[in-house]
């Protein structure tokens, strides 16, 4: 049955709340309104105001209270309304959510999930198209997840909620309406497993979240060129599947990492660094990075010139192959 990513996420929240009454969902406008993207739609009417509720407008307050509720014994799943609005909560996320379990020598665990609709491509105004995943991947203690398909949306969110560690869950908002034929509930490979979305021999495209789909489109387009591209979906940045990335590179000898975030000091750098560390002699060309320019995310009408697309990916493939 055809399910959108948005539906899969909503269903995952619903099923998790059904399965465990310690799961609570809260944030700005997630209750009565059901979230600005409707990901929490009907959860309040179904589970009541103590299980799904709206908060005052304060992201640090949302994350900080989630930490307290988790110490008490709940499993809070909180929403940051948009990527650009996670920053007010940065201290609670990095100084406490990430560090408190370690600080406590394991006596305190924080099974908190922070959901963040992220990335661009929807023609939004400023601060609504950010890709801050590298920040959180560099904050030890957090897990960082980003599904690229509806089935992963369901399964990874369920896993995130069940996970005893704090998880930052990046939802590719431009893919909320992406459809997949899948029966829910479903189970996909767990955290730390990259998945080959398309097998290929010429080169590997490495992506996560919104760019997985773009890479698949690039791979199809590449057939004309006679290129057989492999597409590897990282799915989780922390834990990072080094072995999976290396294995794919060994098959193809060429790798291109693709993300929306600016290239400088982005996740692509980590992937490239690891590949040359772990598969030096298999690299037939440098690992190339295709991502946003090193400028602030632009106005809606200019985002197409900023974001990676099929042409830029194929251009990078060509550069890699002709190296």
């Amino acid at each position: 049955m055809a399910v959108t990513l948005a539906q899969a996420l909503n269903r995952a929240l619903h099923d998790a709340m059904e399965a465990d009454d310690r799961v609570v969902v809260y944030g700005e406008d997630v209750g009565r309104l059901g979230g600005v993207f409707r990901i929490t739609d009907r959860l309040q009417s179904r589970f009541g105001e103590r299980r799904c509720f709206d908060t005052p407008l304060a992201e640090s307050g949302i994350v900080g209270t989630a930490i307290g509720m988790a110490i008490y014994g709940f499993k809070p799943v909180v929403e940051m309304q948009f990527d650009g609005f996670t920053y007010p909560a940065f201290e609670q996320l990095v100084s406490h959510l990430a560090k408190m379990p370690n600080r406590s020598r394991g006596t305190v665990r924080l099974p908190v999930v922070v959901r963040i609709p992220f990335g661009g491509g929807i023609g939004a105004v400023e601060h609504h198209s950010e890709s801050p995943e590298a920040f959180f991947s560099h904050a030890a203690g957090l897990k960082v997840v980003s599904p690229g398909t509806p089935s992963d949306g369901y399964s990874l969110l369920r896993e995130a909620i069940d996970d005893p560690d704090p998880v930052i869950f990046f939802e590719p908002k431009r893919r909320y309406w992406l459809k997949e034929d899948v029966e829910l509930p479903c189970k996909t490979p767990g955290f730390g497993n990259a998945v080959v979305r398309r097998q290929g021999t010429t080169a590997t495209l490495i992506a996560y979240g919104p760019m997985v789909r773009t890479c698949l489109e690039a791979a199809s387009a590449a057939e004309e060129e006679g290129w057989d591209l492999e597409v590897l979906d990282l799915r989780t940045l922390v834990p990072f599947d080094s072995a999976g990335v290396v294995a794919s590179l060994q098959r193809t000898g060429h790798a291109i990492v693709v993300h929306e975030a600016q290239v400088f000091a982005g996740i692509g750098a980590e992937v490239a660094a690891q590949l040359q560390e772990r598969a030096f002699y298999h690299l037939e060309a440098p690992v190339l990075r295709v991502g946003g320019f090193d400028v602030p995310y632009p106005a809606a009408k200019l985002e197409e010139f900023f974001l990676p697309d099929v042409d830029r990916i194929l251009d990078a493939v060509e550069r890699a192959l002709s190296y």
Binding site: E28, D29, R32, L33, G34, V36, D54, T55, P56, L57, A58, S60, G61, G84, F85, Y87, P88, G123, A124, V125, E126, H127, F264, F293, D294, V295, P296, P298, A299, A300, K301, L302, E303, F305, F306, D311, R312
Partner: protein
């Protein structure tokens, strides 16, 4: 160890100050004299009508797919025009994203603001020309910019007042709290105008704060808290004017709560039927800020048919110009992406700009 200030002097009155009641009748309110000349009263009316017309045009442009999104001020014309009108040209304003009305009063070209909502540019006006800051989308953050700007003016002994707008929802964020506190500690010439339009998207005031009123928060910073009927342009003007003059006299910042209502959806992307009732809407419609002021002006003989015609024509002209400027407006030059982030950009900019230039060139051929 006793308290240093008389708290009661800082608390707002029980009922918001209003000079015009719902029916448009003028009432004397002690301490808030109406000191406006006839042409000023007409100006207030003019700005409110223009605001509403431009707002309507923006909503239509959004419906026609010409704007990505738009945040309407419908119902808040008096709160915005009345407050902004209390400023002098040399003063500064740091707005949120809903202050189109205040922008008009400051002389900002509304087209520049619609270009933001269209996505032509992230912003398209020079704050130094009109002393109207860039629209600020991260909630409440602009309050700190206002405070800092006012601190600067104060350190230079420059006579200038800074006004910052934020919403009822914003009052929950940390930044406005820090802004109010810094302003008080540094005795900065600031006026913080909270447009309490009863909602933060879908979240009603009662879920936002349990304070007696938002104006009561002022006492926690040692500054006076004022409240006015934000749908009464005269009450709003009179109260804000006091706060502005207080700041100008060097007596420090204050907080003004303008009690009003957002008649439209939060933005064109929102569906308010999910969280508010027609009854509520009807109740506030009866308090329409423009209708009320019209009644008053007519009773005073200040609003002739000719004047009304004149203002409507001007409003139509505005709207027409906006349609022409915004409709199918071309996107900006993509290479401008690299022009503004830095005065002295890193070397990578040359590479990345060249990459984009070449790409654009080849797309033109192909």
């Amino acid at each position: 160890m006793g308290s240093r200030v008389d708290a009661n002097a800082l608390l707002p009155p029980d009922k918001p100050v209003r000079l015009l009641d719902d029916s448009g009748t003028l009432h004397e309110v002690e301490g808030f004299p109406l000191d406006l000349k006839d042409e000023e009263l007409r100006e207030l009316y003019r700005f409110m009508v223009l605001s509403r017309r431009v707002d309507k045009q923006a909503i239509n442009l959004q419906r026609q797919g010409q704007l990505g999104v738009y945040a309407s001020l419908l119902g808040q014309e008096a709160a915005q025009v009345g407050s902004a009108f209390a400023l002098e040209p040399r003063d500064w304003v740091f707005p949120s994203y809903r202050e189109l009305g205040a922008a008009l009063v400051r002389g900002v070209d509304p087209a520049s603001i619609l270009h933001l909502f269209r996505g032509t540019w992230l912003s398209d006006h020079d704050p130094h020309e009109t002393h109207f800051g860039l629209l600020s989308i991260p909630i409440g953050t602009q309050a700190l910019h206002a405070t800092g700007f006012a601190m600067g003016a104060k350190f230079d002994d420059v006579d200038l007042v800074v006004m910052s707008y934020f919403g009822d929802g914003a009052s929950s964020e940390g930044d406005p709290h820090e802004a109010l506190n810094f302003a008080a500690v540094f005795e900065a010439p600031c006026v913080f105008v909270v447009q309490n339009n009863q909602y933060a998207i879908s979240v009603p005031l009662i879920s936002q704060t349990r304070a007696p009123t938002i104006a009561h928060k002022a006492v926690g910073y040692g500054m006076p808290g004022y409240r006015c009927d934000g749908n009464d342009v005269l009450g709003t003007y009179a109260v804000v004017r006091q706060a502005v003059e207080r700041a100008r006299r060097g007596e420090g910042p204050s907080l003004v709560e303008a009690v009003t209502y957002r008649m439209e959806a939060h933005t064109t992307a929102d569906d308010p039927t999910r969280y508010r009732t027609d009854e509520e809407l009807a109740m506030w419609k009866a308090r329409d800020p423009i209708a009320r002021f019209e009644t008053f002006l007519e009773s005073e003989g200040l609003l002739t048919a000719d004047l009304r015609q004149e203002i409507d024509d001007e409003a139509q002209a505005h709207a027409k110009r906006l349609r022409e400027e915004i409709y199918d407006a071309p996107h900006g030059d993509p290479l401008e992406l690299f022009d503004h982030p830095y005065v002295e950009p890193p070397p990578s900019y040359a590479e990345q700009r060249e990459f984009l230039r070449a790409e654009l060139a080849s797309n033109q051929e192909g």
